[in-house]
Amino acid sequence: MPDPLIGKVFDEFPDESEWDAIVIGSGPNGLIAAAYLAKAGVKVALVERRYEIGGGLATEEILFPGYSSNMHAVYHMMVDYMPVIQDFDLDNHALMWTKPNAQTGMVFEDGTSLLMARMVEDTKDSITKFSFKDAVAFGKLIRRWRKIVDEILGPATYIPPMSPLDISMAMQRTAVGQEMLELVEQSPLEIITNNFENDKVRAFLLYTSCMWGLDPRETGIGMFVALLLQRFGMNKCYCDGGSHKFAASLAREVVGNGGTIVDAAEVTNIIMEGGRVAGVQIAEGRTLRSKVVISTLDPHTTFLDLVGPENLPADLKESVEGWQYDKWSFYTLHIATKEPPKYKCDDNWINDAFMNIVGIEGLDQLLAHWDNVIGGSIDFNNFGGHATCESLFDPHLVHSPYGGYVSFFQMHAPYEIEGGWDQKGKELEEAILTKWQKAAPNMTRENIIKVGHETPVGIELRLPNMRRGAIKHGDYKPIQLGCFRPNQDCSSSATPVEGLYVCGASNYPGGMVLGGPGYLGANKVAEDLGVTKWWKPTKAMEKYIRTYLE
């Protein structure tokens, strides 16, 4: 029922309403699914718990008025492939992306550095300081991996998942496909150590490959090395105006095409009638009825909390209960400073780089740092992280008359930590500032205007479906990837619960604003509703289908 103190938030919104489809969660995937369906003529309601849409696409004034920070997503690595951008022509009327040449840097204590640039030759130049052999190897590998990404991994991100056997048979058709299969069989650590000799180069490439939560020693995930180095390491984009701009542009497409966004509306349960979904109930008491409910939330929330274990087949319940969240979360220090960080090292380009890794000196140290985090601790004498000065790329983020810059330093962190995050969060803030200042001497207290941090627990508080601070809604490991994400029954978006669809980051192809689950969810729902699709696969997807699937 309406809140007795404030009344109905939206008086014009009825207590009970009927919809063709309801989407839960207005993160990137919810927005994408709703936008496609709305434009296809489906009467769609997008329901969001927060007062603002976007989920991880959040750009907010968390430090001080006039200083906006990108709270979660900031590195957009699949902009060149996402169908939603071209289907809605977002690049021409809504969005502007910045893809700096200086992409990913790493600064060492002795003043040397490594830099991965958009341009291959510039990257080779940097590696050659440490090993000419590694520079040549990088050039050769990345050109081959670019083909793997362009022809296979990029387009396949937006095509429903296949079984490992089907993938193996399809990939046999081409040399590029066969090379990808060979990659898959290796662990990231094997790929890096087999191809590169220098310890610093190895640490740099492994950090970039695995930083979002890949186990460096796990086999069966090697293709991520090609994908992450090529797309994240060398081709990530910044969304001008902040990541929330991306969400806002999608929201305009939802509403502009007749959809409705219901915000400040937490779904308390998915209504089940006659063994199938019948709608959702929101916390203030309203009921939205629909035979199609699309959830972008994590598996526990969707199936156990909202549908209820009593409504699930035993296999599905068991699968959801066994779902594992990310092997590590993140601790992020957000900071406003008078000057941007100025790294003292042998390469001026580091100061232009989109992201810089600080505090990691070699491969063993990196592995030890990750092992500590997975084990639930942080060694204050041995940790590293990555930093970005966002306002170097986007002056819009600072509106304060005092001027300045906003940056962040992010590091891998366990959800549960000895002593608790209330205490450790403050201690870590000091440790990070000390470490950061070693690499960038101007990051002194005098330079700081304002500083704040977000712990893994804080992530979960802000976005509860990032359970345990899991930004990808679930670990990346072979049994939780591809057609196993979140499980074989649900990876196509449809679920064994009639009328219930899932298409969040816990679905294939995963998180990190790939936009894949939302797109695939919209496709599946449109097919099941018998709605005419107004969109077509991209050219790259068509080529992939012709080459590997037909």
Binding site: R118, M119, E121, D125, F132, A135, N348, D394, P395
Partner: protein, 296 residues
């Protein structure tokens, strides 16, 4: 119009187009100005790489012709002897070391002089009527090229190696002397050198102080030169076209192809109708939705 007509603060209005023969960076950063361009586009322009190929050019004025050491003397050679380079070329490692020093470290050279790579075009190779030196009794030997980093990327600032010019000249003569036996103070009248930084001052379009202007590499070649959105000579600024080696396929080396290629684009956009004298490239593919540059 008088030749001096546009001096001082004059405005020349173009009804159809402005074609910039200036390098791509200054075209947008200085002539158009950042206030008219998006941050994303400006970043792309800033990022256009001018690495790869900057050279330090030496000219040696000597009392006696320079003579190669016997080991480097070309067979059946008459006169003082010919040499060219590159030297030294005894191992691949020498090349790696030099490239790593220039493109990787980008600072003051650290390669030992005896391993520094260089090439030369001797004056002796020119026809006797093509006099290189008109001072009686003296000889001009040039140019000698050594690969050095462009000023833009030097960690200690663009003029960093120019501050040590005499020291670097001496270092380079030490390198040349591995091959030439009489590059010594007794023989040398003057060593004039031209650093990349000086090349930029002399010709502001030679950004990076290089002949190729912007780097010739996969990411900046062909359909990517200088970046995909600028690769067909058009720009995001209506009426502005690019026509400079830094901005357009096929790049530097005085290939004379850029204005010809641009002509196809100007025809496509309906800005020129050249008439019967025009012939399009046999490899030209008309762009859909545009006027074809192939005469009907």
């Amino acid at each position: 119009m008088r030749e001096t007509a546009t001096r001082d603060e004059k405005r020349v209005w173009a009804d159809k187009a402005v074609v910039s023969g200036i390098d791509v960076k200054q075209t947008f950063q200085k002539l158009i100005g950042s206030e008219h361009l998006g941050t994303s586009f400006l970043r792309k322009v800033d990022d256009i790489s001018v690495k790869g190929g900057s050279i330090w050019v030496s000219h040696l004025l000597t009392r006696q012709p320079l003579v190669p050491r016997p080991k480097f003397q070309a067979p059946k050679c008459e006169g003082p002897g010919e040499y060219g380079g590159p030297y030294p070329c005894g191992s691949r490692e020498i090349y790696y070391e030099h490239v790593g020093d220039v493109d990787g470290r980008r600072g003051k050279p650290t390669v030992p002089a005896e391993r520094l790579m260089w090439i030369a075009t001797q004056s002796v190779r020119f026809h006797e009527t093509d006099s290189q030196c008109t001072i009686p009794g003296l000889y001009l030997e040039s140019p000698y090229y050594v690969y050095v980093p462009p000023p833009e990327y030097q960690p200690d600032g663009p003029d960093a190696i120019d501050k040590h010019k005499e020291e670097i000249n001496a270092y380079m003569r030490q390198a040349f002397s591995q091959v030439i036996e009489n590059v010594d103070d007794d023989n040398l009248v003057a060593h004039l050198s031209n650093s990349p930084y000086e090349s930029e001052f002399r010709n502001t379009g030679l950004i990076g102080g290089t002949w190729c202007g912007t780097r010739h590499c996969d990411d900046q070649w062909g359909e990517n030169r200088p970046s995909p959105e600028l690769a067909r000579y058009r720009t995001p600024v209506d009426g502005l076209y690019l026509c400079n080696q830094t901005a357009c396929h096929p790049g530097g080396l005085a290939l004379m192809a850029i204005p010809y290629n641009l002509m196809h684009i100007l025809i496509e956009d309906g800005l020129v109708e050249p008439g019967n004298w025009w012939y399009p490239s046999p490899w030209y593919i008309p762009q859909q939705g545009k006027i074809s540059a192939i005469p009907r």
